[in-house]
Structure formats: C-alpha cells, structure tokens
C-alpha cells in the first residue's frame, strides 16, 4: 500500500532518471579517499610486478660488507637487515608474496563463502540452519586463536595460510551474502525468475549474486587488508612464511630486537605493511561511501 515517497526533503532531489549513477568503477575517481587507497595499492603492485626488472640485490643475498654498518646508504637505500640483506629488495620481493597470498586467500574465501551464503539465504530452512550453525561455531572462535592454532599445527606455508583464511573468513562472507540474499529473496525480480522456472543455481548466481557486489567489493578490500594484517601477525609471532624468502611480518619481527640501535630494520617493513593495509582500507572506505551515495 505504499506510494512513492516524496522525500526530497533534506537530501538533494532524487537522481535524475536520465543520469543514473554509472558503475562503481567509473565513479571511483569521485572519491579522493578511494583514489589515495588505490594509489597505494598500485604503487606496491607496480613495484612487485617490476621486481625482477629493477636493479636490486637479490632479496636473500647477504652483503657481508654491510654487516658492520647496516644503515641506509647509497648502496642500500633502505639499509640492510642484520643478516646483511637489502631491505628495499626484500620489501619489494616480499610485496609479491603479500600481494599474491592476501588477495588470493580472500578470493578463495569468497569462492567458498559466496555459494554457502547464497544457498543459506535462498533455500532457507534446514540448509540455512546447518550452514548458519557451522558458521556460528567458527565465527565464535576468537580469530587470532584460530589462526595460531591452525598455522601452528598445519605449518606455515602460503597454501596453509590460504586454507586458514578460507576457514576463518568464509563463514563471515557466507553470513554477509546470506543477509544480502535474504534482502532480495522476496523481491519481485526473483519471483519473476521463478515464474519462468529458472533453476536455483541460476537464480543464486545470476540474479542474486550480482546485486551483492557493492557491499562485497567493500568487504573484499577490507578482508584483503585484514589478511595482510594477519599474515603480518603470523610472521611476527614466528609463524610466517618459511625463510629465507622475505615476509614483511617476519622482517618487522626480526628488526624489533634492534629497534633501539637500528630502527630502520623494523621501521621500513612496518611502513610498508601499514601503507598497503591503509591502501585497501581507504579503497574499501571510498567504495562504501560511493555505494551509499546511490
């Protein structure tokens, strides 16, 4: 029984029909926050991609000459770590790991979480109960504890980190997708699809999922940021990716002992981590603001 609501009151009048918002991606430049975030991410992606072409020391090469004075110098712009390895090179090569593992892990979590959430939201009933119950159990776990227990037991490797992220993040994603699905499930376009007897899979993936993309893009960026923090924490707790290949968290950890005399050893890796996380968080924030503006 509701009629159109003329709520042009406090907000600007509804967007003109002939100028509906273009896709989120094309509007991204409107958000300064998002652009700063994107800039930070692109900066690291570029460095990571170009790593083999850059005139850098190999990341694991130990420069014995630098052991005496590891501070930043013309030879090593960001100095060396206490094993004589070039920090800049290790940061850039380390970015390759972080930038592949974190998004990959988040993506894998989405591949698991989305179908679960869609099924729970669309089918409801027992399917929903089972999926939600399992999700609840995993989500009740204090997340860091779960990571520590998992990684300490199955061992630190890129694959295992991906597995751990999937296990811990998929339920959260499923919950979000379920919520978004529930919002839509009773909308008329779903009914219309049912009335032409579309299959459940079709409705879930073609009709429902695309409409979840706004919140999911935001969530994805946040999750990548959080995964980077997690990988950093695991490295810091000594559960990082196996040595000697550079891992940002491990670099911070290794540098902390020297913080009072050689602060650059943990300062630069920390800045790297913070900048990349900030990038994803800012992007997420910008995207969210933009999608709220619709």
């Amino acid at each position: 029984m509701s009629a159109t609501i003329d709520n042009a009151a406090a907000a600007p009048l509804t967007a003109p029909v002939d100028k509906a918002p273009p896709s989120l991606l094309r509007r991204l430049p409107q958000s300064r926050v998002a652009m700063v975030g994107l800039g930070l991410i692109i900066f690291w992606v570029a460095l990571a991609t170009l790593a083999p072409l850059l005139p850098l020391d190999p990341p694991n090469k130990q420069d014995l000459m630098a052991l005496a004075d590891p501070r930043p110098s013309a030879r090593h712009w960001l100095g060396t770590d206490f094993k004589g390895r070039d920090i800049l090179s290790r940061l850039i090569w380390g970015a390759r790991t972080v930038l592949s593992v974190a998004p990959l892990a988040a993506l894998a979590a989405y591949l698991v979480g989305c179908p679960l959430g869609l099924a729970a939201g669309y089918y409801g009933g027992k399917v929903d109960t089972i999926i939600s119950r399992i999700s609840d159990i995993i989500l009740s776990f204090p997340i860091i504890i779960l990571y520590v227990i998992l990684i300490a037991n199955i061992g630190p490797s890129a694959l295992n980190i991906v597995l751990a992220v999937v296990l811990t993040a998929a339920p959260g994603i499923a919950r979000i997708v379920r919520g978004l699905t529930l919002e839509q499930r009773h909308l008329d376009y779903i009914a219309a699809a049912q009335l032409r007897r579309e299959s459940a899979l079709y409705i879930m993936f073609i009709e429902l999922l695309p409409n979840c993309r706004g919140p999911l893009i935001t969530d994805f960026c946040l999750r990548v940021g959080y995964t980077i923090i997690t990988i950093g924490i695991l490295g810091f707790l000594g559960l990082g990716l196996p040595p000697p290949d550079p891992d940002w968290g491990t670099m911070v950890k290794e540098g902390t002992a020297m913080i009072s005399v050689r602060p650059h050893m943990s300062l630069f890796p920390s800045i790297a981590i913070v900048s990349l996380i900030l990038g994803f968080n800012l992007l997420a924030d910008g995207v969210r603001e933009l999608s709220l503006r619709d």
């Binding site: 694991n60 000594g238 196996p242 040595p243 000697p244 009072s260």
Partner: protein, 549 residues
C-alpha cells in the same frame, strides 16, 4: 695434598705434561677429574690459580634476571639446563662443579679417587653441609638421588649419559628398558663415602655428576621441587609463578658462606627478543641468563651494561640422514660441506661471537681437539663431486630448522645462499623446537643443537657411533667406530689426539654433518652486578653475585 700425591693417575698425567703431550690446561682438567684438587693441579701445572670468584660478602639487595620461568617441578627430568635448572640450581646443589674453563672441582663431594682402570670411583661427601631444615647431608642422600635418576620410570636424561657404564639393556614386558648393571654399582662405604663401580672404564664421571638433572634433592621431596623445598644450596624458593617469576631468598646458614644478595628474582621476559631488550633498557632487570646474537648489537648500545662471554663447544649441526637420498652418497655430503664458508656463517649468524668450525664437531675448546687442515670453500669442487655422484644438475632438499635457537635460522639462511652457488637448492622449514625432537632422527636434513660437552670424543660418541640412541643421522662407519673406541680407552693425550685427528678427517670426508661454527655463549649484565662470569652452559650461581646500590 698428600692424597693428591697418591693418586694413581698422577704419574701418567705429569709425564704427559712434562713430555709436552698435554698442555697445562688439559693437565689441570684431567687432574681434577681424577680427583686431584684444583689447587694441586694448578700448582703442578705451574699455573697460578685464578682466585675463584668468591662471594662478595653479604651486601644484601635484590637481583633480577630475565629468563623464561618454566616448569621446575621435577629437577631429575629437566630437559634443558638453560632455564629450568637455574631456579632449582640456587636451592639444589650438585656433587661436583665444572667451571667455565671446563675444570671439574669438588662441591658436595669434597674429593674423590679413581682406580687405575677408571672403573671404581670413591667419593667423599663433604661434611658440615646442612639441608635447609638443619639436617646433615650424608651419603644416603647421594645414593637416593643416584638411584632415582637411573630408574627408567623416572625418565631422567641421566640414563642416556650414564647408560654406558652404569646400566644394562633389559626387556620389560617386551619393551626395551634399562636397569642398573649390578647391585653393587652404587655402594655406600660409610655415612660420608659413596663408591660407584662402573661396568666399563669412564673418565668423565665427575663431569656427569654436574649434568643439570643431577641436582641433589632431599629424599623426602620424592623428587618434587617446589616452593619451600629442602635444599643444601644458598637460597630457598619462596615464590613461583609459572611464566611470570620465581623469587629466591638467601639462607643465613649456607655452608658455603655469606650470600651476596638477599633476594634473587627470575623474571619471565618471553621469547620475543625485543621484549628482553626493552626490559634491560628500562632497567626492569639487571641482566639476562643468556643473550642471542640477534640481540647483541642492541644490547651493546646500552651503556649501563657489561658484556660477558665464554667460548664453548655449543653448535648447531646441520646433519644429513645417511640412509636417505641424496645423502646416502658420501660425495654429496662432502659437497654440501665444500660449498660452505664457515667464516661467513660466523659473521652473519653469530656476529663473530664464536669460532669457525671445520665440519667435524671437535672444538678448539675441547682438550682432545686435533688441529687438521681446515676445509676450504670450493664451489667448483663441490659441483664436481655432485656431478661424480650423479647429480650434474645439483641436488635439492629440505632443511628443518627448530625455531628455539634464533641463530640457527641465520646459519641456515647463510648456508642456503652459499649452497645455491653450488647448484644445491635447500628449502628451509622452521619448526617449533618441541616438534623437532619428535622427528630429529628422521628428517633428511635437520639442525640439531649440541650443547657444550667437555670432550670431543664425547660428542663424537654420542652422535656418530653406529646405533647409539642419539645418532640422529644414522651414520655408520666401522672404521670410525673402531678408532673412536680406541680413543675413548686412550688416556695418553698425544695418542688420543692422533686418533681424534683421524676421526676428524673421516668426518670431513665422509661424515653426515655440515657444521660451520661453534658459538660463544654470552650475556649482558648491569654494571652494578658484581662477581658474574659467563658459564658455557648458561648456569647461574647467584650466591657469588652482589648488586651495587
């Protein structure tokens, strides 16, 4: 002194000293081992005896040491001397005392004599030692402790150490076990005399008695150490909180004399290297039990600290399983060694705090060390050997690195870089220390801590003799075993060194290990702490210390 002159071993030893077959240091060490008093030994060697760090007199005050406060309940089954025994060490004492130079001296045993065949050891219990409840310390107490640690059900690692000369293998319910080889093995001569009758000759018995699980407990304790436990030592444990701190209060009636401080607190600073540094920097603690090479630079920069170090035979052996490909081929094993420059490892992993080793586990700190030509790094040679072994394209393997010794990883990383140049690809896999001990004899390549042991042949015998429990590499070489057995029965130092040289050569050519460095153990203490010296096994003796206000 008269007793010393009667010592049956004196003649051999003095002769060797006179012939120059044994240096003065070795003479003193051996003389002490066989029961000659340190004073006599030093005198005979013509070395002025360094005044042992004496207690500074009762000045009072509080000493706070950063460590990990681990479980301490069962001293006889301690698994590592570094942390757990340093709490009980202040309360429970040992029968002998091995100083930082490796010289074993009397302690609760006032003196001892040994038969010429090195099988019968007679120990005199020091009189006047009183338990903290006032009771006298007697031979019965000693025997109770000895028997207890050799009881398989107790699970003390003393079994491993004394098995060769005190225990027989037996089968109980189809399971391998051990028992004391003879009813008379541990003999009470009188209230203040104990005799050990060994199955085989053994020169190192007094050193073994200083092994950390051999803490002397009161029989009433039933082997449990806790707050208020009886001990003969200078302190009593008054407070203990796992993972937090242990508080020890000085006894007024300690047999050894005045105790320098009133209270010792051992504070748990965690595993994080930076937390310990922060605690020292903010003067929350006076010093650390020991420091890691990774902390060295930072601590050196703190002006209120003194640096203490001592060279040791402690090392991290990268051992290869000889029954697994590709290490079943001795050429591959040798190539692994040839690709390494120990000096690089020393610099990178130990900040130079140690000595370069020669891949044979015998240290210049060992008296029976023999100087042989060091292995030079030879990348081309290593490649050639690999090609000969059938690996022209190099080999690859996985190296397990237990993460409870931070410098192991630095060592491994340095090695990986050098191996890479020789076409050897090694993947590092860190593992919690606890987990490593379940696989340490199984993985193809692993890094194992070998603590300081007084003799080179002890190390070789424990780790590389065919079939012994701690032979982690599965190494089996008949020649090696034969020479080793011969060396163990040879008291003549020159001869023994010749044998050891052969063993060292076999290790370098055929052995299962890459062993680039021996480390010095070191620590930092507040300059106000007086009387401290670094012990190679990180033992602390708080009663000798004092703290300036």
């Amino acid at each position: 002194m008269t007793d010393d002159r009667d010592n049956p071993h004196l003649k051999t030893l003095t002769k060797q000293l006179a012939d120059g077959r044994m240096d003065r240091r070795e003479f003193i060490r051996h003389a002490c081992l066989v029961g000659i008093s340190a004073a006599s030994a030093y005198a005979m060697a013509g070395v002025p005896m360094a005044t042992p760090a004496k207690a500074q007199g009762a000045k009072g005050g509080l000493l706070r040491i950063g460590t990990r406060v681990k479980e301490i309940k069962s001293p006889h089954t301690y698994s590592w001397g570094g942390y757990d025994s340093n709490v009980s060490r202040q309360v429970l004492e040992y029968l002998t005392f091995t100083d930082e130079k490796g010289v074993t001296q009397p302690y609760l045993f006032e003196k001892w004599t040994v038969s010429p065949d090195l099988k019968t050891w007679t120990f005199n219990v020091r009189k006047g030692v009183k338990w903290s409840n006032g009771q006298d310390f007697t031979a019965d107490h000693v025997i109770w402790n000895l028997k207890r640690v050799l009881e398989p059900a107790v699970g003390s690692s003393m079994i491993g150490l004394m098995k060769g000369y005190m225990l027989d293998d037996v089968t109980v319910d189809g399971k391998a076990s051990t028992k004391i080889w003879s009813d008379k093995a541990i003999e009470k001569v009188d209230d203040y005399t104990v005799r050990l009758n060994c199955k085989t000759p053994q020169v190192a018995v007094p050193e073994h008695l200083f092994h950390y699980p051999m803490a002397i407990m009161h029989p009433d304790s039933k082997g449990v150490f806790e707050v208020g436990s009886l001990g003969t030592g200078p302190f009593t444990l008054t407070e203990f909180e796992l993972g937090k701190k242990a508080v020890l209060k000085a006894r007024k009636d300690y047999w050894g004399g005045a105790v320098g401080i009133d209270t010792m607190e051992q504070i748990d600073v965690g595993d994080d290297a930076s937390a310990a540094i922060a605690a020292l920097a903010s003067k929350q603690i006076h010093g650390l039990v020991f420091a890691d090479p990774g902390q060295y630079d930072a601590l050196k920069a703190l002006p209120h600290l003194n640096f203490y170090d001592v060279p040791t035979a402690e090392t991290g052996v990268i051992r290869m399983r000889c029954d697994q490909k590709p290490f079943d081929n001795p050429k591959v094993r040798k190539a692994m060694r040839m690709a390494i420059d120990p000096e690089v490892v020393l610099k990178v992993a130990l900040r130079g705090l140690g000595v370069a080793a020669e891949h044979h586990h015998c240290s210049p700190a060992h008296p029976d060390y023999a100087q042989i030509p060091p292995m030079k790094r030879d990348v081309a040679g290593a490649k050639k050997l690999l090609a000969e072994a059938g690996f022209p394209n190099g080999v690859s393997s996985e190296l397990i690195v237990p993460n409870d010794h931070a410098w192991f990883q630095s060592q491994a990383e340095a090695c990986v870089e050098m191996w890479k140049e020789a076409g050897i690809t090694v993947k590092l896999t860190p593992m919690p220390g606890a987990a490593y001990w379940d696989v340490w004899t199984k993985v193809p390549m692993g890094t194992t801590i070998w603590y300081h042991r007084p003799l080179a042949i002890m190390c070789l015998g424990l780790a590389y003799r065919t079939g012994v429990p701690w032979n982690e590499s599965g190494y089996s070489n008949k020649d090696f075993d034969a020479i080793l057995t011969e060396a163990e029965g040879t008291l003549d130092m020159t001869k023994r060194k010749e044998l050891v040289a052969k063993l060292e050569t076999i290790m370098q050519e055929d052995g299962p290990l890459v062993q680039p460095v021996f480390r010095s153990t070191f620590t930092f203490m507040d300059k106000r702490v007086k009387g401290f010296s670094m012990h190679p096994t990180n033992y602390m003796f708080a009663w000798k210390l004092s703290v300036d206000a």
